[in-house]
Structures are given as structure tokens and as C-alpha cells.
């Protein structure tokens, strides 16, 4: 299969991804997307078009039936999956909270997370330091979404994949998160924002990609 080489600025290049899930239903039909460094890329598509599936293919939580995903020009199947996922963070649309308090969630699987880094990650997601001792399973949907963003940011990923990150947030919280994403991109992080919110995409993204699909051939 011919695969375009990633250019110098492109961190992730996904080409011609096909994936059928559950009774052979084709979810991805030749989807392609680039996620360059230092930019917010909005991945636009209506609900059910495969945005969440595509994001999971980019950090190998799902494996496409066909197609290739390159990270810095290297096929991600050649990389250690755990190391890949630490480099390419994912914030799911309905993120699960792990047992314990917010600090335990944000610091999960990190050897040590200094208090200032914990609080900085929370602040970037629009949460103040008082949240550190809150039980994660008692948080509202919007608070969970922000803790999930803080959890992803705290491990200093190179790229961040977000699935409808502001869907559960009110206006002010959504503004804080949007501003954080813009700032992180300016600091060099590559961000892929899957959303059906055109207004949000227009406001914060540097580039937009409509989920490219080909006519199903099977």
C-alpha cells in the first residue's frame, strides 16, 4: 500500500484506515488525518461517523483492519504500545475515573507528581487546588472531563487526542479548557480535537479535517 511520508511538521499521519466492528459493520472507511505538532487540529464529523474510533486507532487502542498510522514517520505497530500511549494521550468523551481522589487520578502510574505540577495540571483544566482531595467518583460530569484533561496533561504527552472535550462543560469551564488547548498547542503540543461543535472548532483550531471516508467497497 502506498503511504504518504509524514512531513517534518506532521507528528501523526493516518492514511486510509478501514475498520469494521461488531457484526462486520464498517465504522471507518478509508479515513485519513494528519495531526501536526504545535497546532489544534479539529476532526469534524457528525455523531456516529467514527471520530472516537479513529482517535483510538491513533494510539493503537484499536487496530485498523487496513491502513497505516505513522508517528514521526514510524509505523506505530513498530513502537512499544505503552510508550506510544504515554506519548499520545487520549481523553475519552465520557472519561472513566479511577478509584481514589483526584490527586490519585492525575498522578496515576506516575512515579512522583510534585504538588506544583499537580496543581498546574488542574489549573490548566480549569480546576483549583481544592479538588486534589475530592473523591473522583463523586465528581460531576463536567468535573470528570476536566480531571481527565488534567490527567492527560500531567504526563507531558507529545500529542493529545480529545473526544468532544467540552461536551459536558458549561460555558465558563469550556472557555477555560479551550484556552488551555490553544496555549498547549502554542507550547508545541499537537492536539487533535474530535468534535461536532463547529463553533468551538472555528474558535480554537488552526486547521480542520472532515473525517474523510470513501464509498464502502464491501
Amino acid at each position: 500500500m502506498e503511504v504518504e511520508r509524514a512531513d517534518a511538521a506532521a507528528e501523526i499521519v493516518a492514511r486510509d484506515l478501514w475498520l469494521a466492528r461488531g457484526e462486520g459493520r464498517a465504522v471507518l472507511r478509508g479515513a485519513s488525518v494528519d495531526v501536526p505538532r504545535g497546532q489544534v487540529t479539529a476532526l469534524l464529523a457528525p455523531s456516529g461517523a467514527g471520530k472516537s474510533t479513529l482517535l483510538r486507532c491513533l494510539n493503537r487502542l484499536l487496530e485498523p483492519d487496513r491502513g497505516t498510522v505513522l508517528l514521526d514517520g514510524v509505523d506505530i505497530r513498530e513502537l512499544d504500545p505503552c510508550a506510544l500511549r504515554r506519548r499520545v494521550g487520549l481523553v475519552a468523551q465520557e472519561p472513566a475515573m479511577l478509584p481514589g481522589d483526584v490527586a490519585a487520578n492525575v498522578g496515576y502510574a506516575l512515579d512522583a507528581l510534585p504538588a506544583e505540577r499537580l496543581e498546574a495540571a488542574l489549573a490548566a483544566a480549569g480546576l483549583d487546588a481544592s479538588f486534589t482531595t475530592r473523591r473522583a467518583d463523586a465528581l460531576s460530569g463536567g468535573e470528570r472531563a476536566r480531571v481527565a484533561i488534567a490527567r492527560a496533561i500531567a504526563r507531558d504527552p507529545e500529542l493529545l487526542l480529545l473526544d468532544e472535550p467540552t461536551a459536558a462543560l458549561d460555558g465558563d469551564a469550556a472557555d477555560v479548557v479551550a484556552a488551555t488547548l490553544v496555549r498547549l498547542a502554542r507550547d508545541g503540543l499537537g492536539i487533535c480535537l474530535a468534535t461536532h461543535d463547529l463553533a468551538l472548532a472555528e474558535r480554537i483550531s488552526d486547521r480542520s479535517v472532515r473525517l474523510q471516508t470513501k464509498e464502502a467497497s464491501r
Binding site: 493503537r60 487496530e63 505497530r77 505503552c82 475519552a92 472513566a96 502510574a109
Partner: protein
């Protein structure tokens, strides 16, 4: 009338009493009670005859134990049928610890290496391993389905599959062991366990019965823990996909 005939008559007298009470109260259970009681009578009669044969022909012990393992694997595997090769995996989880423990108990001389000691010991341990396999296996399959979001979160944060599913495995193993741990803690206080009662009724001294029961109970603890761990390991291996991922696990009914 012989003691044996009186025992059988007494047993079926209680069955008739339970059936009649259920019918009088219109519980709708009389048919199920009678069928279960008659079936138990037939099964025990057949098993009694078979074990008598095994006592006469010791080589048949192996076939008898193998049949018990097979029956246990079919029963447990049926409860885990969303898992590919469920019966085969259940057979491994049940047979490995129970047969090994039986062999150890016979090898060290805890019980005589005769069919009369080996077959019932293997039967108790196989039964315990089956219960633990079913309970832990079902709980793990439920967890892999119900807690898929939590597991995916751990994977997305950089865990490997083994680490990501460990909390679910731990809960499953705990579920599999709780009934036996409770039974072991309360032995002699809440109820007298079957081995003790059987030995005392059979004429053994209470001290011998208590000692034998202790061996069985503590061996069961190790066997059931191993069975639960093995079935969980086999389920995780089946659910694992290349690239530190998990296949979708369907809901179990």
C-alpha cells in the same frame, strides 16, 4: 427393617413432606422439589454403585476422577460460555489444582493412597475448584465488559494489559473465594461441614473427623485460590489482543 431401608424411607418421607407443604401453600414448587429429590436419589444410587465398583477395581479411580473433572468443566464452562473454549479453559482451572492437591495429600500420607480415600478427596477438591472457577470467571467476564471504560483509561495512560486488568482480576478472585473463606471462618460455629458430619455418622471419632475436615478445608483454600487465579489468567489471555489491547468482551447472561 434394616437401618439402610429406614434411612431411605426417612429421606423420601422428608421429600414427601416438603412436596406436600409446597402444594398446600400453592408455592408452585412441588414439582421441582419432587423431581430434584428423586433425581438426587437416582444419582446417589448410581454413584454409590460406581464407587463400590471403583473400590473393587482401583484402576477405575483414574477414570472416575477424570469423569468428575469433565462434568465439572462442562458445568463451569457452560456458565462462562461467552468465552471461546470455555469448557477447555474451565477444565484446566479445575483439574490442575485439585488433582495436584489430591496427589500431594496422598503422597505425604495425609490420606491412605486407596480409592476409598483418594476418590472422595478428589471429589471435594474438584467441587470446590469448580465453584471458584465459575464465580471468579463470571465476575471477571462481567468486569471486563462492565468496567471496559476504566480498563481502557488505564491502557490509555500507559499501562500494559496485565496491569490494566489487575483491579478487575483482584475483585474476581475475591468473589470466587469469599464463600469458602466465610465457611472456613465459621466452621463448627454456624454449621458442621459435610466431611465432619459424614465421618462421625460413619463411626469415626470426633477428633479424627475434625482433623480430616481441617485438612480438607485448608486444602480447599489453596485449591480454590489457584483455580480462581488460573481461570482469570486464561480469560485475560483469551481477551488479550496484540499491541496491549483487549478484544471486546460480550455481556454474559
Amino acid at each position: 427393617m434394616s437401618r439402610g431401608a429406614i434411612q431411605v424411607l426417612a429421606a423420601f418421607g422428608f421429600l414427601a413432606l416438603a412436596g406436600a407443604l409446597a402444594a398446600w401453600l400453592r408455592l408452585g414448587l412441588e414439582r421441582a422439589i419432587v423431581i430434584a429429590g428423586v433425581r438426587a436419589g437416582v444419582q446417589l444410587a448410581v454413584v454409590g454403585a460406581l464407587i463400590a465398583l471403583v473400590f473393587d477395581v482401583p484402576a477405575l479411580s483414574f477414570a472416575f476422577v477424570a469423569t468428575m473433572v469433565l462434568a465439572a468443566a462442562v458445568t463451569s464452562g457452560g456458565r462462562l460460555r461467552v468465552l471461546p473454549g470455555a469448557r477447555r479453559r474451565a477444565a484446566i482451572a479445575i483439574a490442575a489444582p485439585s488433582v495436584l492437591a489430591t496427589g500431594l495429600l496422598l503422597a505425604v500420607g495425609a490420606f491412605a493412597a486407596t480409592p476409598r480415600a483418594a476418590v472422595p478427596t478428589a471429589g471435594i477438591l474438584i467441587g470446590g475448584a469448580m465453584a471458584a472457577t465459575t464465580l471468579a470467571g463470571r465476575r471477571l467476564l462481567e468486569g471486563l465488559h462492565d468496567d471496559a471504560g476504566e480498563i481502557e483509561t488505564r491502557l490509555a495512560l500507559g499501562d500494559d494489559v496485565r496491569t490494566a486488568v489487575w483491579p478487575v482480576v483482584r475483585r474476581a478472585v475475591t468473589t470466587g473465594l469469599v464463600p469458602l473463606i466465610d465457611q472456613t471462618r465459621s466452621v463448627g460455629l454456624v454449621a458442621l461441614p459435610g466431611t465432619f458430619v459424614g465421618l462421625v455418622l460413619g463411626g469415626a471419632s470426633p477428633a479424627t473427623a475434625a482433623r480430616t475436615q481441617l485438612v480438607v478445608l485448608l486444602a480447599l483454600l489453596a485449591v480454590e485460590l489457584l483455580a480462581a487465579l488460573i481461570v482469570c489468567q486464561l480469560i485475560v489471555r483469551a481477551a488479550r489482543a496484540p499491541g496491549e489491547r483487549l478484544h471486546d468482551v460480550p455481556a454474559i447472561s
